[in-house]
Amino acid sequence: MTHATQYFAADSARIDLLVVKDMVAANTRVLDIGCGDGTLLRMLAEERGVDARGMELSQRGVNDCVAKGLSVIQGDADTDLADYPDDSFDYVILSQTLQATRNPRRVLEQMLRIGKRAIVSFPNFGHWSIRLQIMFAGRMPITENLPLAWYETPNIHFCTIRDFVALVDEVDAQIERAVALDPSGAPMRVNAPWWIWNLFGEQAVFLLERRA
């Protein structure tokens, strides 16, 4: 799933990884789905003492990770999460990959089954610049962070922050923490209402847990 990450500009967009890292408690067990070249896994292992495992679709990414000594398997979020027993991990992370899965709801349910908590980051399709492109140009939006045309993008299931919040409710999960990032990658004001986040947040990071 490097495909999802490689299409994002390196600097601003990957600040979400730092946000994700801050949501993970030290010395826990983590599965990072779509771990790419293992940047987050490495950060978590080295800075948080985490038992970090990864799953990655692209062979190149897997090879890079394993050669770096990371525990990573080649696998597909849509099909291979079913093999893990319940509560295998403290956190299951899906960063910038949800929109590239075939069945995002099923993936989210599996994450919440095999992990005690799930962390999901995704690009917000409700951002004002995207709304403007659709409204005035009448075309599928192309932005710095989503640079590919509709017919060649791997991102087949875009959602807005509001859409995601609704999905969280549908899969019987609750939001423990949520952070929206503005286009510069900076976290937005915590107490801003949802509609502000949905309009001005370019990306969002959610920490979820099963509803008790």
């Binding site: 090879n63 050669a67 770096k68 000594g69 990573v72 398997i73 893990y84």
Partner: protein, 397 residues
Amino acid sequence: MTEIDPLKAGQAARREVDAPHSLVLSLPADRPLMMDAGVGLAPLIIAYQTYGTLNADKTNAILVCHALTGDQHVANIHPLTGKPGWWEIMVGPGKPIDTDRFFVICSNVLGGCLGTTGPASTNPATGMPYGLDMPMVTIRDMVRAQALLVDHLGISKLFCVIGGSMGGMQVLQWAASYPERVFCAIPIATAPRHSSQNIAFNEVGRQAVMADPEWAGGRYFDFGKSPTKGLAVARMAAHITYLSDEALHRKFGRKLQNKTAPTFSFDADFQIESYLRHQGSTFVERFDANTYLYLTRAMDYFDLAEDYDGSLARAFKDTKTRFCIVSFTSDWLFPTSASRSIVHALNANSASVSFVEIDTDKGHDAFLLDVPDLLATTSGFIESSARAFGLKEAKSA
């Protein structure tokens, strides 16, 4: 076909069977190896090679498991062929399995013909080779014999067990039988059970051997004969399965051998024919026909899940061993799906597992060849595992 002098080839190979150019562990007759066939084998002789130095804590040992036609000569000149060891790309000073840092052990498998007790070995009860009197050998029996060797070397826990193909089967068996004795395991291009297709190919090879009149019901030594023609055909057929269609096409295509036009005969017109005939004729100079029958049978019988009520996951229950599983895209003999089934079983146990499918057109044989992704994966995994196991950086440190 190149003319083989069966007597000459046989004599050199015969010498290695009972007096190998290797270290030898002889287990006394009162300590039989209990085999899956339900009999005890005694005396048991295990021929092995080691490289590097065992550290004071005896924690830096890596056991290499060889494949069907391999042997213990991993990284030294082969006593019969005069060629370099079969895995010098992987094992040696500064290599992924660094002999400056690790103590590397490889033993000839039980049933083999390079010094470990097998059908070619002299049966002390009769003074003649065992032949078909040798009990049927299983992968688990091979691993039991290796465990005796590891005991003998005073090693309670192996840092790593690694091997490809039939060697990979032994790695899986080690992890299942002795989980507490294996810190990390690297099964390459292998499967948790032999497929129907693989059994079929093995059967073709065995029938080729047994159809050779010189096989003589397995008692060819008694008559000073050797079923070299049958064994060569078996090797030729098997060799095709180790390569991919792309690799064969790239290497040979339809090129003719030392001629510009077909001869309209059954000579080796095509380069691929000549190549296979060469593979066959050189193989019989170093390998025993009955051993080929026994070892292919051991692979056929391998089905790890069967020993655990049909559940592969149960074979690895609560395992603490770290796994790195490797397959190759063009390996149709041990396809990626087989490796993936191991990954699934390990995931079901929340085991520490890495899995890499390496893109290469070199087929099953890729595990023996200079495939940079294989070397990088292996060295990265071994390096991080050594750190986790608390091994020091270098021997001198």
